[in-house]
Amino acid sequence: MALSTSSNFAKPDDAFRAVVEAHRGLSDEQSADLDAALVLILANHIGDLDVLREAIELAKRRMLDASQQQQQQQ
């Protein structure tokens, strides 16, 4: 099964809001801690190593793109 990047939530904005609200009042460090736990919980729920690897790749590629853009701007 390939990583699904189509929109799967009936109300995507509600999902986004739920994640943002979970971070309310947290310090940067606490936020990172929450995110780490969230990733592991959701990864376990998915239970598919290939999907997990694809998701990691997508997330990393995005970081790479952002840093390249910053270099171009400078």
Binding site: T5, S7, N8, F9, V20, H23, R24, D35, L58, R62
Partner: protein, 219 residues
């Protein structure tokens, strides 16, 4: 300033003691600890909101990222060039400029509970409202102008987010941040002889934004 009441002195002390990062933050024109939802709606991407930044970057190549973007929530209001309103003091220059969205902050409620600045503004109505940081000088606002008073019991966050400067001088009663929901006419300055605006900007602002005035109470 010599006769500043004790409560105000204590407030000044508490801000100085508990917000050592404030000077640094203001110099960098950043606002300490503004968390994503402590703002009015549509207030823009909060500083340090990794989730908002992530969803924007994911939107480039994924459908789910695009669908998660809420234009209203992620939009940033247009702020006005503050050169049209010369800064009065360094403290003012560091505060949010005209047109900016208002950061929210927790306040102490009258009954001893807690509330938020946004809620206080909703209760004060949609008229011209002054946000007063009590610095020892009693304030007598012009007619038709609401006041939200912030004291020591409201905690430090609200002062930090608005860069309130306790005891900012002798003649200046307070620094003001106003929310207006009607076209700006500066009538509150012009029509009340007891008040003279030291500096006021005349642009028309949207609902729920900040404007900055400095008043001097005529003596």
């Amino acid at each position: 300033m010599e006769t500043r009441p004790r409560a105000a002195a204590e407030f000044a002390g508490s801000v100085a003691r508990d917000l050592p990062h404030r000077t640094q933050c203001c110099r960098r024109r950043k606002y300490p600890g503004i968390d994503p939802l402590d703002r009015f709606y549509g207030a823009g991407i909060p500083p340090g909101s990794a989730v908002a930044k992530a969803v924007l970057s994911l939107a480039k190549e994924t459908e789910f990222g695009k669908r998660m973007i809420n234009g209203g929530r992620l939009s940033v209001p247009s702020t006005y060039d503050t050169r049209s309103r010369p800064p009065i003091t360094e403290a003012c220059a560091a505060a949010r400029g005209p047109g900016a969205s208002m950061p929210d902050a927790p306040l102490a409620a009258d009954a001893g509970g807690s509330t938020f600045l946004t809620e206080a503004f909703i209760r004060a109505g949609t008229r011209f409202t002054l946000l007063e940081f009590i610095n020892g000088v009693a304030v007598d606002p012009p007619d038709g102008v609401g006041v939200i008073r912030i004291g020591a019991h409201d905690g430090d966050l609200v002062g930090a987010r608005y860069d309130a400067e306790p005891g900012t001088g002798l003649s200046v009663a307070a620094r003001w941040l106003c929310r207006r929901s009607f076209p700006a006419t500066d009538s509150c300055c012009a029509q009340t002889p007891r008040w003279r605006a030291l500096s006021a900007s005349t642009e028309v602002f949207d609902h729920g934004t900040v404007d900055q005035f400095e008043f001097c109470q005529a003596r």
